[in-house]
């Protein structure tokens, strides 16, 4: 059992998680409205992981993300309006509309790159760690990747290199391929002969931890420990954060399977229902943390509802900003091929 979060920290984390949830719901809606093209990957169900990691990292630290990046970018503090504008391919987007959802990235916040190539980020993250080590400033590089990335050989190479050179890399494996995260129950959607992915980093001498990725406190504790080790020069750490597959994310074209989250489920004012009742009641990391906090009585409940309303308003603004923003001028397509 992880140490419970101090109240102020818990509320901060919840705000970030809610922001991600409401953002993703808006992305889904905008896609259905035809506001943007291309496939996309939502972070619903994984909010606790990214949020908890970001709460430990410092401004000097570096990061790398994947195709499933919205939550990472927002949790690190990117402006939701610019993030949404990016997804819509607008000139005001975080990277001028050049990347879209798959490449969301905020260079000002220490993101090095957001790669849509499975195995891309984990290996580039080792480069980030190499840079941190060369700078000798105690910084670390956190690199996010899915369980699927461990099917790619380059990920193995990356783990080996980081271990050999004791690079300060936090390998954040977000395993969303499991219905249950009890060890030994296997990875239902992963195409892997391994029944325990931790054996892979262990085979090259990397310290590993496994946590419930829907439990913000647990992730935060594990990451704090891992990052402290990295900063002390003890080499890389690997954390496997287990999250139950969000029922909307399979197949790739998500439908709003779990609906728009009703925050009142956390206070018991509404009852969860529908096909995904179990996911909503027992896994949804946002409701889980909200429930814990809302248990604090009437004041807490009021605070929760106010927080949700404020977050929704922020997302509405973000959506409006994005929709109202101009598309980039065609002639700019020829800029920035070279730095």
């Amino acid at each position: 059992m992880p140490t419970p979060l101090p109240d102020d920290v818990a509320w901060r984390l919840l705000e970030s998680m809610l922001l991600i949830r409401r953002f993703e719901e808006a992305v889904l809606r905008m896609s259905q409205e035809g506001q943007f093209r291309g496939h996309y990957h939502l972070y619903i169900g994984q909010e606790a992981t990214g949020t908890a990691v970001m709460s430990v990292l410092e401004p000097r630290d570096r990061l790398n993300s994947t195709h499933r990046n919205h939550g990472h970018v927002l949790a690190r503090g990117a402006e939701p309006g610019k993030a949404m504008a990016e997804i819509l391919g607008k000139a005001t987007g975080l990277i001028g509309g050049r990347g879209g959802t798959i490449h969301l990235c905020d260079p000002d916040l220490g993101f090095l790159h957001t790669s849509g190539i499975v195995g891309g980020c984990i290996s580039l993250g080792v480069g980030g760690g190499y840079a941190c080590k060369q700078k000798k400033d105690g910084s670390v590089c956190a690199t996010f990747f899915g369980d699927g990335a461990l099917e790619e050989g380059v990920s193995f190479e990356a783990l080996n290199i980081a271990s050999l050179w004791k690079l300060p890399v936090l390998f954040m494996c977000e395993n969303n391929s499991t219905g249950s995260w009890a060890p030994g129950e296997g990875y239902p959607t992963l195409v892997h002969a391994s029944t325990d992915l931790r054996l892979i980093p262990q085979s090259v001498g990397i310290r590993t931890m496994r946590v419930d990725g829907a439990d913000a406190a647990a992730v935060r504790e594990a990451v704090s420990d891992a990052v402290a080790r990295c900063r002390r020069g003890e080499g890389p750490a690997f954390i496997e954060a287990m999250t139950k597959r969000w029922p909307g994310s399979n197949p790739l074209w998500p439908e709003p399977a779990t609906g728009v989250t009703d925050i009142r489920i956390a206070t018991g004012e509404t009852q969860a229902g529908g096909a995904h009742k179990d996911w909503i009641e027992n896994h949804d990391p946002v409701l889980r943390l909200a429930r814990a906090l809302a248990g604090g009585g009437n004041d807490a409940r009021t605070r929760l509802y106010a927080l949700d309303a404020a977050v929704k308003a922020r997302i509405d603004d973000a959506v409006n900003f994005a929709i109202d923003s101009p598309l980039p001028a065609p002639a700019t397509a020829f800029d920035h091929v070279f730095a």
């Binding site: 943007f36 093209r37 291309g38 496939h39 391919g89 607008k90 000139a91 987007g93 001028g96 509309g97 050049r98 990347g99 879209g100 798959i102 490449h103 790669s115 849509g116 190539i117 499975v118 195995g119 699927g148 990335a149 099917e151 790619e152 050989g153 380059v154 195409v191 892997h192 197949p251 790739l252 074209w253 598309l327 980039p328 001028a329 065609p330 002639a331 700019t332 397509a333 020829f334 091929v337």
Partner: protein, 325 residues
């Protein structure tokens, strides 16, 4: 004649190849990506369950499995997925498959088929819009084909399965849903033969894959201006059918080459250089290339359009060539 989509014809070609030869199999079955056509594959999955496997996300390993199996006499079809994932398997394709026949003095061959979905597909951004076929053309020992019609998709996939050589099939993602006429009985198409899709007197437009469609559309625009364009569909990129191309330039004296790969060292450059070398005296005007600008592919629509060939750009290039000679 009946019409059929590129996707349906490709699936038919794979199906008939599996039915015709029990050495044939599929490593990776998401040939049509995750778009609306993906369920067309179900018929194959149902009828050949023992000869389809879906590998881990490990393009190099999957490609190597196909290459090794082909060296052992099998006829695997390896789906590489989106064009940019090809780069992860580049060593298996170029260092191993391509040199197998040559290095063994002709005693081993690697009759593997690779398939990839190439091209600017709309919102694919820099990492999901690649057309790696120019690079593959630079690796001696590979056959590379890029059909544009349903009939050719069928015919070339059948030819690829039959070929003893490693063959790459590049299908443009935007082609999948496009319907073209197919004969009652579709048949094998010989690798290495181009096809004149439209006869014309004034200018030859050489293209492949989706660009052949665009070139035919451009030819219609040009016809309205009184310019009579001949459109040659390359079908096969390597071996290059220089004869058919030169033959056409002999008639028209002018050449526009259209291809969606980036400009430098691309297929358009190859066709241009081939004619500048072997058909120089036939030319009345400079050779124009219409390609993707030498720029990564951006996500945002107006940017994407700015760097990608389309019928208007092709027609403009042809008009310019008409003016200059």
């Amino acid at each position: 004649m009946a019409k059929q989509s590129y996707a349906q014809a490709l699936v038919d070609g794979i199906y008939d190849s599996l039915a015709a030869d029990d050495r044939a199999s599929m490593i990776g079955s998401y040939v049509l990506g995750l778009g609306p056509q993906r369920n067309l594959m179900d018929r194959i999955r149902e009828d050949f369950p023992d000869r389809i496997v879906d590998p881990p996300t490990a393009e190099a390993g999957a490609a190597a499995t196909g290459v090794g199996a082909a060296m052992a006499g099998m006829r695997p079809f390896v789906d590489l997925g989106t064009g940019s994932f090809t780069y992860l398997a580049m060593s298996q394709i170029t260092n191993e498959a391509a040199v197998s026949s040559y290095m063994s003095n002709g005693r081993i061959s690697a009759g593997v088929t690779f398939h990839l979905l190439h091209g600017v597909r709309g919102g694919g951004a820099a990492q999901h819009s690649h057309s790696p076929q120019s690079m593959l053309c630079n690796a001696p020992g590979l056959e590379v084909v890029a059909p544009y019609s349903a009939a050719d998709a069928y015919g070339l996939v059948r030819a690829a399965f039959q070929s003893q050589n490693p063959t790459v099939i590049a299908s443009h993602a935007k082609l999948l849903g496009i319907e073209t006429e197919v004969p009652d009985k579709k048949s094998v198409v010989t690798i290495g033969k181009a096809d004149v899709k439209r006869k014309g007197r004034d200018v030859t437009i050489v293209a492949n894959s989706l660009m052949t469609h665009y070139s035919l559309l451009a030819a219609e625009q040009l016809a309205r201006d009184g310019i009579d364009a001949e459109v040659v569909d390359m079908r096969t990129l390597v071996p290059l059918d220089e004869e058919t191309i030169l033959d056409s330039v002999k008639r028209t004296g002018r050449l526009v080459v259209v291809d969606e790969c980036p400009l430098r060292c691309g297929i358009a450059s190859e066709v241009s250089a081939s004619v500048a070398e072997h058909g120089f005296d036939l030319l009345k005007a400079p050779i124009a290339r219409v390609t993707r600008a030498h720029v990564p592919v951006p996500f945002s629509l107006p940017l994407e359009e700015a760097i990608t060939p389309d019928p208007a750009k092709i027609a403009a290039a042809a008009r310019k060539v008409m003016k200059n000679g």
